[in-house]
């Protein structure tokens, strides 16, 4: 029996916990403020987009250090990367951590969806009987949680007064040290080159997933002959277009995000177009003399690939910290017809090119 109980505890205790802390409602897991190898590996995998749904922490109350009835309560999402980022910054602090059920999605996104929201917070405060664990009535939320949480309703229903803390977990010790006062610096979302680079795999991956379709169309068009599809033809003409396709992905999904503030104009579509145009220009400067001797192909290259780069750059609006829905809608309203038009004109030109190649026109 003893063995069985031990086994049970060992099995259910999360790997990142280091013991328990007792509360009036029973023990809660104590959270380590150090990362171990699985935590780092999990961060890398989630950054690469390997898993989304299942990287979760059980919602509920946790302890950091040796918290008492007077200790602060910090609220976070049950996306493990959010939780890990928070606990790592709490070294030396004694605090309670309340994890909301956000379906393993980070605070900002979950707040936008409403899962990091007023109702879930109220429910979690009452489920964990937080009012019996602490004697004060203050809870600290990540600032970006304010998108989904109405502080005055929470206070009316639970008695807890919500303070929206810093945007980033790393500023929490300073925020607490400054008696819950925020400097403008810790209230602002930043968007450094590192932030942007970390997000580019999530732009490149979906683009590359669609790339085989593009490649199939290109090889089909170049390979198509009156006698059938010839592989040699497909390869000869198509290869350069495939390389330029990859360059367009590189320009739109990597270079534009990375160099964002240094590319002129505020519109992402224009930024992406400029970078794509530069890439095509440089590429044709290098290879023009050898293969792209045909004027029609040259026109298609200059039409299609900057537009592809522009479209991909526009997708990066989803990853940024400063683009609003009205602006993106405006860009799409102008951009989408242009993209569709460009793709159609390119296709027509390709058909003309083929007809010329076959000697029909």
């Amino acid at each position: 029996m003893q063995m069985q109980t031990l086994k049970f505890i060992k099995k259910t205790a999360p790997p990142w916990s280091n013991g328990t802390v007792s509360t009036p409602n029973g023990p809660v897991y104590k959270v380590s403020t150090d990362w171990t190898r699985p935590d780092y590996w999990g961060m890398i995998k989630s950054r690469a987009g390997a898993f989304r749904m299942n990287y979760a922490v059980e919602p509920g109350l946790y302890a950091v250090g040796e918290p008492t009835k007077d200790s602060d309560v910090l609220v976070t999402a049950n996306y493990k990367l959010s939780f890990d980022t928070l606990r790592r910054e709490l070294k030396g602090l004694n605090a309670w951590v309340l994890v909301l059920d956000t379906k393993s999605i980070n605070v900002w996104c979950a707040a936008g969806k409403g899962t990091f929201g007023t109702d879930e917070l109220i429910k979690r405060i009452s489920d964990t009987r937080l009012d019996t664990v602490v004697s004060h009535r203050r809870i600290i939320l990540p600032q970006l949680g304010a998108i989904g949480v109405n502080a005055s309703i929470v206070q009316k229903q639970t008695g807890f007064r919500v303070s929206f803390g810093p945007v980033r977990a790393q500023d929490i010790p300073a925020y607490i040290g400054a008696k819950y006062k925020k400097t403008p610096g810790i209230s602002r979302i930043r968007f450094t080159i590192l932030d942007r680079l970390v997000l580019t795999p999530l732009e490149i991956n979906p683009a590359m997933k669609k790339f085989p379709w593009f490649a199939a169309v290109v090889l089909f068009l170049f390979g198509l002959q009156p006698s059938g599809i010839l592989f040699a033809h497909a390869w000869h003409g198509g290869l350069l277009f495939l390389v330029m396709g990859l360059l367009a992905v590189f320009a739109g999904a990597f270079l534009t995000p990375a160099l964002l503030p240094f590319i002129p104009f505020r519109s992402f579509a224009i930024k992406g177009w400029i970078v794509g145009m530069l890439m095509v220009f440089l590429f044709t400067q290098v290879f023009n003399a050898i293969v792209l001797h045909d004027t029609i192909l040259l026109i298609v290259a200059f039409l299609l690939f900057p537009a592809m780069s522009s479209y991909l750059a526009l997708q990066f609006t989803g990853a940024t910290t400063f683009t609003g829905i009205s602006g993106v809608k405006k860009e799409l309203k102008i951009g989408l017809p242009i993209y569709i038009g460009t793709a159609s004109i390119s296709l027509v030109l390709m058909i003309v090119f083929k007809l010329k190649e076959w000697g029909v026109v």
Binding site: R47, G49, R52, M53, K103, I105, N106, C109, A110, G112, K113, Q143, L144, A146, I147, G148, V149, N150, A151, S152, S163, F164, V167, K182, S187, R188, I189, F191, V198, L199, L202, E203, N205, P206, K209, L260, P261, R266, S267, F268, L314, Q315, F316, T317, G318, A319, T320, T321, F322, T323, G324, I325, S326, G327, V328, K329, K330, E331, L332, L336
Partner: protein, 98 residues
Amino acid sequence: MKYLANVTTLQYASDKCTGCGRCVEVCPQGVFVMREKRAAITDRDLCMECGACAMNCEFGAISVNSGVGCATAIINSMLTGGEPTCGCGDAGGSSCCS
């Protein structure tokens, strides 16, 4: 970094402001500051329409059509006819949810 000029739907009626400071506390772009015990707008073009201010203004002084500023989500909503939400729950998902 600033996004497109003059597109935000942010509306602020300063006569309803009681000076509680919630908007300054929640805005991640520094759009609001306190000036003479009332909230004031610094630069509307900084607004990313996240909706945190309107959500937390108890006095109804702020309104904004909030939503995700994400092209993938908006294109998907055009195709499906739904509200634009980022595809965090979907396999693959869009990058608004790192």
